[in-house]
Structures are given as C-alpha cells and as structure tokens.
C-alpha cells in the first residue's frame, strides 16, 4: 500500500485528487468562516466550495498520476528519475492505462478515449432526435433538452473531433517525418491525460443542482453568466481541453520544424504533415481566446467581475467577438487535419501523385491566414457594428477559394490513376468530397449577409454544421481510422463490415441532415424542444435516419474491437503506400526506426520507375543518394 502511494499511478492519482479537492474545500470553508460569511454559498452562480475543488482535484490527479514527477524533481533540485524508458512503449494492454511517453501509445490512448466520448455524445444526439420526432414534449423537459444539446455539442467538439485528430497525428506524424518520437514526450503524455478530465467535468455537470450546462456550446453571456452551477463545469472543462490542445499544437510545431529526417524539406512533407502544421498554427494562437473568455464568464459568475454584466457597464457583444475569434478558426482546426488524411488516402488508393501538391500546401496556409479574419460572420444579426458585416462577408466568401482548390486537386488526383475502392478508408475519402462540397456550398450561402439574416439560428445552421463536421470531419476521421488501423494494431479490419458501416453512415448522414436545410429555411428555429406542427413529418423522417445513423456506428465498434483482437495479421505496408510510416513493421518498433531514414524524394511518387520517398536502414546502397525531387513540378 505504501509503495502504491509512493509510486506514480492510479492509486496516487486518486489520492492526489481527493487530497487537492479536500484542500480546496477546506480553504473555501476556512476563508469564508474567517470572513464571517455563511459557510456555503449556494446561489446558482456561486458554489465556491464546489468550484475550487473542481479546479484543484484534476490538478491533484495529474500530479499524483505522475504527469509532473520528472519536471518537479528537476525544478526542486532532487535527483531526476533515470531515463530508462520504462514509461515508453506498451508491452501489454495495461500499459495503455499508465502515464506513457511513447507517441504511439498516446495516439492509441487519444483515439480510444475520444471515441468513447463520441459514443456518449452520440447517445445524447439519439435522445435529442427522440424528443424531436414529434412536436410537443415527450421524453425530456425543455430544460433537460437544453442541457442535452449543449453537452452533445461540447463533447463532440472539445473531446472528440479536435483531440481525435491530435491522436491520429500523434501516432502517424512522427513516423511520417522519420522522427523517433514527438519533440516533448512528457508534455505529450500530460496533454493526453488532461483530456479525459475535461470530458469528466463536462459529463459530471449533469450531477449539479440545476442540471448540466444548458446555454449551448456557444455559452453566450449573459445567459451563461446567470446559469446554474453546471455552466461553471463547462468553463473549467474548456480550460483542460484547451490546455491539452495548445500543448499538443506546440509539440507538433516543434516536432515538425526541428525533427524531420535528413532530406525531408518542407516541399517533401506529406500533406498530412502540412495539415497538422497549419492546424497547430491555428490552435496556438486562437485557443487562448476561448480559454480567456470562459475564465471571464467564470469570474463574472463566481467573483462578480463585470465583463458581461450590462447593468454594471459590461459589454454583452464582446463575449461573442472573443468567443468566435477562437471558434471560427476552430472550424478549421476540426477540418484541416481531415484534409491531410484525405490527401494521403486518395493518393495511395488512386496510385497517383497528389495533383498540384504545392498549391495544396499553400491552400492550407491560405485557409489559416483567412480564418483569422472571418469570425464576425457568426454575428451578422447580433447587433454588432453594422459596417463590420460586409468586409467579413467578403473574407468569408474568399475562404471558399482555397477550399475549392483542395476539392478540385483531389478530383484531379483521381484522373489517369488506378483507383482502388476495396478499402473502406477510400470509400469514406471519396464520399467526403461530395458531402463536404454540400457543407461548403451552404457555408457560402451563410456567408452572404441577406441570406444569413433569414436563416441564422435556424435548422439551416444545424444542417450546415453537421454537413461540415459530420459529413466533413467525421468522414475523414473514419477514413483515417480505417487507413491506419493496420499500422496501429498490426491487424486488418473486416472490409465487409466496413462497407456496411460506410453505406449506412453515408445514407444516414444525407437522410438526417439534408431535410434540416429545408425546415430551417421554412421557419424552424434551432435549439428548441418543441416546434410548430407543420414541421412534424420532416422531423419524424429526420429522426428515423438519425437512429439508423446511430445504429450503424455499432457495426464500426464491433468491427474495430473484434478485428483488433482476432483480425488477420497486417503487413507493414498493406496499401502499398510510399510514406515512411508504411516502411516499418505494423505495429512499428518501439523506437520507430533502428536508423533514422534518409528522405530522397516527394511522398507521392507513384508511377515513377525507381522513384523513392525515403531510404530505410539497410537499403542505402541500392539507390543513389541525392535524387532530385520531382514534386510540384508541373507537367
């Protein structure tokens, strides 16, 4: 027992959480007693005896779990733990439940954890659709309904889509650039372990008096500043998810900039690496804004600051400006890594170089730059300074140009290729092109102020974001999971079940989200538990498709779980791809490479006799070094 307390791990982590939480509780009680205040303050925006422990307990868990051990010892001058790699790599399934510094273990931890949150968020979506199947109130009351769609969105955005991309990239990106690990392995592990804490805070808010946070994932003030206790859990959860996201992005930036294998110039990087470079540039600069604005809301609630209290001179609309200054770039944080995945999958399965590689990379950078100048298109009817609308409309519409370049370049990649559609990953990538085009088109319409005035805050918006985030991001996530499943697990998944999952998901997505455009334009507002009779039939149809979409995800889970356990063994390179992660065994060796590979060409040199992307250990003699890259040259 004493040993378990001394050693980093779950026992010490839970004790740490309890100790820090108890300290926070005691501190609040003591300070209030000294000040002569009532011990417990239970106005709905108060509860300091809950909020302070809710901040400290997760930190206590991280400290106890061992996330800070190495740094703390170093900082206070204690002898540091000898780096014997005991925390690196996984020898059994138990190692996935430990503090581990191997990017491959962390990648798997990320993907599995985020998919658990995906299914919890999906269950909430099923409840939402069950309530909306008929007009009137059936299964949940209006307040619970508000909590459900708020937590659904928050789980999907903050602890599924954003981190699952970080997880996939965590696994494959160091391999792709020929690096033995990420630049900061301990920071990488800390980033991961903050994520489940964020998810627990979000879901734990259901236990609060007054229910889970219910002001939407946007949490607009002053609805959020006056909301019940659950809202504080949202404010805090975002801090952990945001810190995780920022730390990972810094890690990616340093890794990509400094740890590429010899010969991998920027113009020889796979597009997935470009995509994560772009995403990380967005995360490091934008995410602090949502962290800041949620602190402002928390301070307004708990400390009675007046950032958004209009009666005390606060400015209500400034919340939206700060929030969207993060949350519009966040849309691209949730999409650019997917663009990278689709580029890898399409090039590999069409057996062709990416069409217009350099323009594809530049389009990513173009999206990064433009996405910082479009946030106020979420506020065309918000009552902001009216002159801001037209410039924001123009930049919003212009962002369709780099996005269009990507769509056309993927299509161009298919031409004169040898397209193989046996892989579920390729099916999702191809379907993504068409489905995402719909989301892009409705996005252009929403960018146009007069149309937006009519449809903003209606089901048209719900349709648009789901076409972009489900038909866009989630399709690319599935493509990525199927594509790298053999690499991550060393086993092949069942393509037949993959096809069932694909077609069910495709039909479910279109059936669910296409009619939402129509009822939105026709007058159905979003975020309502009840609606006018005239929308009843469409909503019933939407709910039926949504249940099918939900059910077919179980096929995916079954496929992944059984294939991971019993699937046939995978080769190192089952898709005959060129990039470096496929040139090592599946799963890769514990330190990735015996010898760092030497990069001698572009990543997509299909169809060029003798062309090579990288020379792996032991095959240096066969290929002349310094073969000039042909990537990006136009024919």
């Amino acid at each position: 027992m004493v040993a378990a307390i001394k050693r980093p791990g779950w026992t010490r982590g839970l004790l740490g959480a309890i100790a820090f939480g108890a300290f926070g509780f005691g501190l609040v009680v003591a300070l209030r007693a000294i000040s002569g205040l009532p011990i417990y303050q239970t106005e709905q925006t108060g509860y300091p005896h809950v909020i302070v422990p809710a901040i400290l307990a997760p930190l206590g868990f991280l400290a106890g779990f061992g996330c800070f051990d190495y740094w703390l010892r170093w900082a206070i001058g204690m002898p540091t733990i000898p780096d014997d790699h005991s925390q690196h790599g996984a020898k059994s399934w138990k190692d996935y439940f430990k503090f581990n510094t191997d990017h491959k273990v962390i990648g798997v931890q990320y993907v599995v954890t985020t998919f658990i949150f995906f299914f919890l968020g999906g269950l909430m979506a099923m409840l939402i659709r069950a309530e909306l199947a008929q007009p009137g109130t059936q299964i949940v009351d209006a307040a619970t309904y508000n909590s459900l769609f708020s937590t659904h969105a928050v789980l999907m955005i903050f602890v599924f889509v954003i981190p699952v991309f970080a997880g996939l990239a965590n696994y494959v990106l160091p391999l792709m650039i020929g690096a033995p690990d990420m630049a900061f392995p301990r920071l990488n592990a800390l980033s991961f372990w903050m994520l489940p804490l964020a998810g627990i805070l979000f879901i734990g808010s259901f236990l609060c008096p007054g229910g889970a946070f219910d002001a939407g994932w946007t949490g607009y003030a002053p609805l959020s500043t006056g909301a019940p206790l659950g809202q504080s859990f949202f404010n805090l959860g975002v801090q952990f998810a945001g810190a995780s996201s920022i730390a990972t992005a810094l890690n990616f930036l340093v890794t990509i900039i400094t740890m590429r294998a010899p010969g991998m110039t920027f113009w020889r990087m796979p597009l997935l690496v470009w995509a994560n470079l772009s995403t990380s540039l967005l995360v490091v600069a934008a995410t602090p804004f949502i962290a800041g604005v949620q602190f402002m809301v928390l301070f307004d609630r708990a400390l009675h600051t007046n950032f958004f209290d209009f009666a005390a001179g606060g400015d209500v609309i400034s919340y939206q400006h700060i929030f969207w200054f993060y949350s519009h770039p966040a849309v691209y944080i949730m999409m650019l890594p997917g663009f990278g995945i689709v580029s890898e999958v399409i090039s590999t399965h069409a057996r062709k170089p990416i069409f217009g590689y350099r323009l594809m990379a530049l389009a990513l950078i173009g999206i990064v730059v433009l996405s910082y100048s479009v946030w106020a298109h979420h506020m065309f009817v918000a009552g902001m300074f009216s002159w801001l609308r037209v410039p924001m409309m123009i930049t919003t519409l212009l962002i369709a140009v780099p996005t269009g370049i990507k769509i056309f370049s993927w299509l161009g990649t298919l031409y004169f290729g040898k397209i193989h559609t046996y892989s579920t990953a390729m099916l999702f990538a191809l379907a993504f092109i068409v489905t995402f085009t719909i989301g892009g088109i409705s996005g252009v319409m929403l960018g146009m102020v007069p149309i937006d005035i009519h449809v903003s805050d209606t089901y048209f918006i719900v349709a648009h974001i789901h076409f972009v985030l489900f038909g866009g991001s989630v399709f690319t996530i599935f493509a990525g999971v199927y594509h790298w499943f053999p690499k991550m697990t060393g086993r092949m998944y069942d393509e037949r079940l993959g096809r069932v999952h694909f077609w069910g998901t495709l039909i479910g997505t279109w059936g669910t989200f296409i009619p939402m455009h129509w009822i939105g334009m026709d007058g159905m507002p979003r975020r309502v538990a009840d609606y006018a009779e005239q929308f009843g039939e469409w909503n019933l149809l939407i709910s039926c498709f949504a249940f099918m979409l939900g059910a077919v995800q179980l096929v995916f889970v079954y496929n992944m779980v059984t294939s991971w356990r019993f699937g046939p063994k995978a080769d190192g390179n089952p898709w005959r791809a060129n990039s470096i992660e496929w040139q090592v065994s599946s799963p890769p060796p514990i330190f990735n490479f015996d010898e760092i590979p030497r990069v001698v060409g572009g990543p997509y040199e299909f169809g060029i006799p003798g062309a090579k992307h990288a020379i792996m250990a032991g095959e240096g003699a066969e290929v002349p070094a310094g073969e000039p890259s042909v990537v990006g040259t136009s024919s």
Binding site: A142, G216, Y220, L223, A311, G314, I317, A350, R351, K352, P353, G356, Y357, L359, V381, G383, F385, S386, V390, M393, L397, L398, I405, I407, G412, L414, Y415, F416, G417, K418, I419, T421, L430, V434, T437, I438, I441, V444, M445, M448, P450, I451, I453, H454, D457, M521, D522, G523, P525, R526, R527, V528, F606, G607, I608, V630, V631, G632, S634, S635
Partner: protein, 263 residues
C-alpha cells in the same frame, strides 16, 4: 502518353445536371410566404445561389463519377497511375474562376443588403422589449402606449424596430419578413422592415434564452393604415415608467445609421 478527356461531354453533363437540379429547386418556395419588400429580394438572391451551387455540385459529382467509372483499377491490377504532378494552367483556372464567382456573390449580396436596409423618411418606430419568455411593444409616436404579446403594424410603410432586451439575448424573427435581429441587453439594436402583405404572422425568438425559449412567441398583425390607427388608439396601457427612458430615445435621430458603434 495518356488519353485526352472528353471535356465537352463532361461539361455538357455538368450543365444538364445543373439545369435539372435548378429546375427542381428554383420553383420551390423554400423560405415560405413572402410578406415584406425584403422577402423577394432575399429569395431571388437565394435562387441565384441555388443555380450557382447546383453548377458547383454538378461539376464535382460529374468529375468524381467519371473518374470512378473511367479510372477504376481492374481486379488484380497492381500498377500505378500516370505520374502527373499537376497542371499550372488548370490550377490557375480553379483558383481564379471561384474567386470571380464568390466576389460576384459578395457584390450581389452587398447590393441586396443596401436595398433592404435603405431607410425611408416616413417610417414608423416600434419599440420592442424582450424578456424571458415574453415580448412587449411600445409605440413612441402614439402616446407611448404599450402592448404585451401582440403588435400591429400598417401595411406598406417602413417600420423601424428598436429592440431592447431586459435579461438575456433574444432574437426577433418574423420568417415571412425574412428579417432577424438580436435583442441585446445594454444596447439598442435596430431592424427595418416594410411589410407588404396584410395578415397575421408569428414572431419567433431565435436566440437560445432558457427553458422557455421554444415557446417565446408573439402575434404580428399587418393591416391597413386605418385599421391599425383604430387598433393603436384603442390601447390604453402606458409604457412602464422604468422603460420610458429607453422608448423616448428610440425616436431620437440617429445620425450614424443602423446599430452604429454597436449601440
């Protein structure tokens, strides 16, 4: 080294698909009944976008399915495709043409926006007050009378709505008018509407405002000037004194236009 593409046939297929999709979608009245001068302008803009969008969607679909039909690998074929890395002219084309299209869409939208927000000299001001979960209205030009849950306006006259939120953000939307504007605590927001069809409509709150959000509605009646005069003269309840200051400010001249400075 590789065959030519049937560009003309692909383009014809794209145009044919665009025509079919547009012919199906343009006649549908997506936005519902039109009851303001802004409605046909916004709906026309929507229809233009439907045609442009149909073209883009058709182009992507035709390109994708042609490639899947023509360049699908035969079973057992393990060879690679042609090593084409790009085509500068094509890449310039699919950068420039979309830029022109979106700039056109932006210019057209700007013009529509200017049209629907063009202030008329003889407008009528109605003050709107929203709170969880009810709407109230005051008529500053008519002795500051006050009405809860219902308001009437004359047809064919521009109405300037001055909006005030008393607790959280609400949003004012009459779908048949196509006009929406948030009511924001602490500031006054403005919307201009010229209703051009008599009838009874519903005012919908479209900004999440709490558990009663879905049922926060009010009745809107558009009627002839004479009938409206009679209705408004019949109102007896005065504006509550604590809101009088706000209503009085609503008729003061605002030299900088709509929502200037956000307030």
């Amino acid at each position: 080294m590789y065959g030519r593409l049937p560009i003309v046939k692909m383009l014809l297929a794209t145009i044919a698909m665009t025509v079919v999709l547009s012919a199906i979608m343009v006649p549908i009245n997506w936005d519902g009944q039109q009851a303001s001068t802004a409605a046909p302008k916004i709906d026309d803009l929507l229809n233009v976008m439907i045609v442009i969008s149909s073209f883009v969607f058709s182009l992507v679909t035709v390109m994708l399915f042609y490639a899947l039909w023509k360049f699908k690998a035969k079973p057992g074929d393990e060879s690679d495709g042609e090593p084409i890395h790009g085509n500068t002219r094509l890449e310039i084309a699919w950068t420039l043409i979309p830029t022109i299209i979106v700039l056109f869409a932006g210019g057209y939208s700007w013009k529509v926006l200017d049209d629907i927000e063009d202030p008329a000299p003889n407008h009528l001001t109605v003050s709107v007050f929203s709170q969880q979960y009810a709407w109230s209205f005051a008529y500053p030009g008519k002795g500051y009378v006050w009405k809860e849950g219902e308001f009437h306006v004359p047809v064919n006259r521009q109405i300037q709505f001055k909006m005030h939120a008393q607790d959280v953000i609400h949003s004012f939307w009459v779908p048949e008018w196509r006009i929406k504007k948030d009511n924001v605590p602490g500031i006054t927001t403005t919307a201009l509407v010229t209703p051009d069809k008599e009838g009874t409509y519903q005012l919908v709150c479209t900004e999440l405002c709490g558990f009663g959000h879905a049922t926060m509605r009010a009745t809107v009646v558009v009627e002839s000037e004479a009938k409206w005069e009679k209705w408004v003269d019949s109102l007896k309840q005065p504006t509550p004194p604590e809101l009088m200051e706000s209503v009085k400010q609503d008729t003061q001249v605002n030299p900088t236009g709509l929502d200037a400075g956000g307030a």
